[in-house]
């Protein structure tokens, strides 16, 4: 067991992939000489050279599409889009090409591409730099959407993603890079399709992913002091969603709170709530609660930003409502 940062875990994962898979290479803005906008790829250029740690111009559409073409052409590219905010410039390539080539070609052309993006708000970087669009991407058939929230997942999700013959998008919440924790060295295959229960309790189910896992865990601790015990579920994958894990939990607790940093309307929390209504309606003792970002472009002022984002207090209040105490 070693103590490392989330950033370091991401770097190790990249290094590991580049060593084990000669067809793999990292491509994106400032991944090489700059060492990565969030310092994830620091040092990799020296180790692997400019061919495999490729700095690109500010051309999201071109280099994401190039990743698609390279993948079709036999490479295993890892494309880094600096943040999800800039991925919108490449949305056509991601949706109309990466997610669609396999289907349009009747199964002939699969796209074994990995795209990594930093996501999320909370650092006062305002409206155009604070998006959480994982849920949006999870709408698209043909993509796999991963949201590593822990050190273990940051370290372990990249390799299976690389092995996946189809496109995988990995979202790293910016607030996690500096967090640290123990890395378990696990042998054996790493399952990227299952949700994991991070804390057990019988009164209410808290469902979270990526940056909101910490919010949910903090809320769970507070709730425990009030005598409310929570199951905290880390979804880990937004597409496909592991329905079984959270539905099983709700069958036991009868109450659910979904914590989602996306804007509430049409978010992944709405999808999960719908699935809960579909599969666990007769197990619900209270309406499903959702704690999401306020429907406003992210404001700059800190107190406003804090008010816009999901907080442990809001999750606690939602759980209390679900318990009939609110």
């Amino acid at each position: 067991m070693t103590e490392i940062t989330y950033r370091e875990a991401c770097r190790q994962a990249l290094r590991d992939a580049l060593i084990r898979e000669p067809r793999a290479f990292l491509m994106g803005e400032d991944v090489g000489r700059y060492g990565g906008c969030f310092a994830v790829s620091m040092g990799l250029l020296d180790e692997f050279g400019p061919d495999r740690i490729r700095d690109t111009p500010l051309s999201e559409s071109a280099f994401v599409g190039a990743g698609i073409g390279a993948a079709i052409g036999g490479m295993r590219p890892i494309v880094e889009i600096m943040t999800v905010n800039f991925s919108l410039l490449a949305l056509d390539q991601i949706l109309n090409n990466a997610a669609s080539f396999l289907h349009m070609s009747g199964g002939q052309c699969n796209v074994p591409l990995v795209i990594r993006m930093t996501t999320g708000g909370g650092r006062q970087v305002a409206a155009q730099h604070s998006h959480s669009l994982e849920g949006w991407y999870a709408h698209i058939p043909g993509l796999r959407i991963l949201t590593p929230a822990t050190i273990d997942d940051a370290r372990g999700m990249l390799w299976p993603a690389l092995l996946d013959p189809d496109p995988v998008l990995i979202f790293e919440h910016a607030s996690l890079y500096n967090t640290s924790g123990e890395l378990e060295e696990t042998a054996g295959p790493f399952d990227i399709s299952r949700a994991i229960v991070r804390r057990r309790g019988n009164d209410v189910t808290l469902i979270a992913y990526g940056g909101t896992l910490r919010v949910a865990l903090e809320a769970a601790a507070t709730l425990a002091s009030e005598g409310i015990e929570s199951d905290v579920i880390d979804l880990r994958s937004l597409r496909p969603l592991d329905d079984e894990t959270y539905i099983d939990s709700i069958r036991r607790t009868h109450r659910a709170v979904i914590v989602d940093e996306g804007w509430r309307s049409g978010s992944i929390s709405a999808e999960i709530a719908a699935r809960i209504a579909e599969h666990a309606f007769y197990d619900l003792d209270a309406p499903v609660e959702r704690v999401c970002s306020a429907e406003v472009p992210m404001p700059f002022a800190k107190h406003l930003e804090d008010a816009a984002l999901p907080t442990p207090a809001a999750v606690v209040a939602a759980a209390e409502r679900a318990m009939g105490r609110g």
Binding site: P57, G65, G69, I72, G73, N96, F101, Q108, P165
Partner: protein, 321 residues
């Protein structure tokens, strides 16, 4: 220009007529509602595909647009599988999943069939990147209309290809109209070769109605790209005789202009230039008719994919690689 061997000319004519008659049959089939959706015809532009594609090897790759029936035919995708695809049958080259705008044949390195204007260019750049990174000698021929030049992706791709010296041949089929918008109304600089050359790559305009000129230029360009001279750009000046898609009312073009370009129809031009006899033409026409009739009959008897398998082809059915 070197003398054109007669057999050579016949081969060129054969390909152009196959494409022409195939496209004309599509008009008929579409009018009879056997083909539905969008159909974009290549009539008038045959010299471009027929001139460029045979200069490519089996190890080269092609990325094209939604006006790609001709490219697919010339590349060797059978008329049967193209027609079956247009009928939406499982025997189609994309399994009936793609339709007219998404013809794919991975074995022939024919990567679509891309319906977003300029959307295929980044993929083509990526295919070229893969060639270079794997030390292969393949060339990627990327076809697109001049309308794509207005899209940001064109500029990103030209820059990236030149920056990384990728083995890609950008083939701009300039037919002067992006759907209903004339080139002069959408580009401040309508000299496309000039614009392309600003990206530090050779950019050659070609008379796209002269199949021999197209072929000669393409051959030179492909060889240069293959030998590591970096990306090249061809501006193939051509014209489509029919509207943008089936029964676009074509209100934006002057009938006199269309008539003028029809006088430069590449097929009669080749016949005249190579002195191909009527008997030879008839023979080629007859072969084409047989091929196309056969393709239509094949498509008509094709299989509809069972609805139960609707959600296939969202994820690969391969194992992990």
């Amino acid at each position: 220009m070197s003398a054109l061997a007669h057999d050579d000319a016949l081969a060129l004519l054969r390909d152009m007529l196959r494409v022409r008659r195939f496209e004309e049959r599509c008009v008929e089939l579409y009018s009879a509602a056997h083909i539905r959706g969008f159909v974009h015809l290549y009539i008038g532009e045959e010299a471009v595909a027929v001139g460029v594609i045979p200069t490519l090897s089996d190890d080269d790759s092609i990325v094209a647009t939604y006006r790609e029936h001709g490219h697919a035919l010339v590349r060797g995708v059978s008329a049967r599988s193209i027609m079956a695809e247009m009928y939406g049958k499982t025997e189609g080259c994309s399994g009936g999943r793609g339709g007219s705008m998404h013809l794919f044949d991975a074995a022939r390195r024919f990567y679509g069939g891309n319906a977003i204007v300029a959307g295929g260019l980044p993929v083509a750049v990526g295919l070229a990147l893969a060639e270079k990174m794997q030390d292969r000698r393949g060339v990627v021929a990327c076809f697109f209309g001049e309308g794509a030049i207005a899209e940001g992706e064109f500029h990103e791709c030209m820059n990236l290809a030149a920056l990384w010296q990728l083995p890609i041949l950008f083939c701009c089929e300039n037919n002067l109209y992006a759907m209903g918008t004339a080139l002069g109304r959408s580009e401040s600089e309508t000299d496309l070769s000039l614009k392309a050359s600003s990206y530090e790559m050779p950019a050659w305009p070609v008379d796209g109605m002269d199949v021999v000129a197209v072929r000669a230029t393409a051959a030179r360009a492909v060889e240069a790209v293959r030998n590591g001279s970096g990306p090249h750009f061809l501006e193939l000046r051509t014209y489509r005789f029919r509207p943008h898609s089936m029964y676009d009312p074509d209100l934006y073009r002057d009938k006199a202009e269309i008539a003028q370009w029809k006088e430069r129809d590449p097929i009669p031009a080749l016949i005249a230039r190579a002195e191909i006899t009527p008997a030879e033409v008839d023979a080629i026409e007859a072969d084409a008719k047989v091929e196309i009739d056969d393709a239509v009959a094949f498509a008509e008897q094709g299989t509809d994919e069972p609805v139960e398998s609707l959600t296939r082809f969202v994820t690969s059915e391969l194992g992990r690689t």
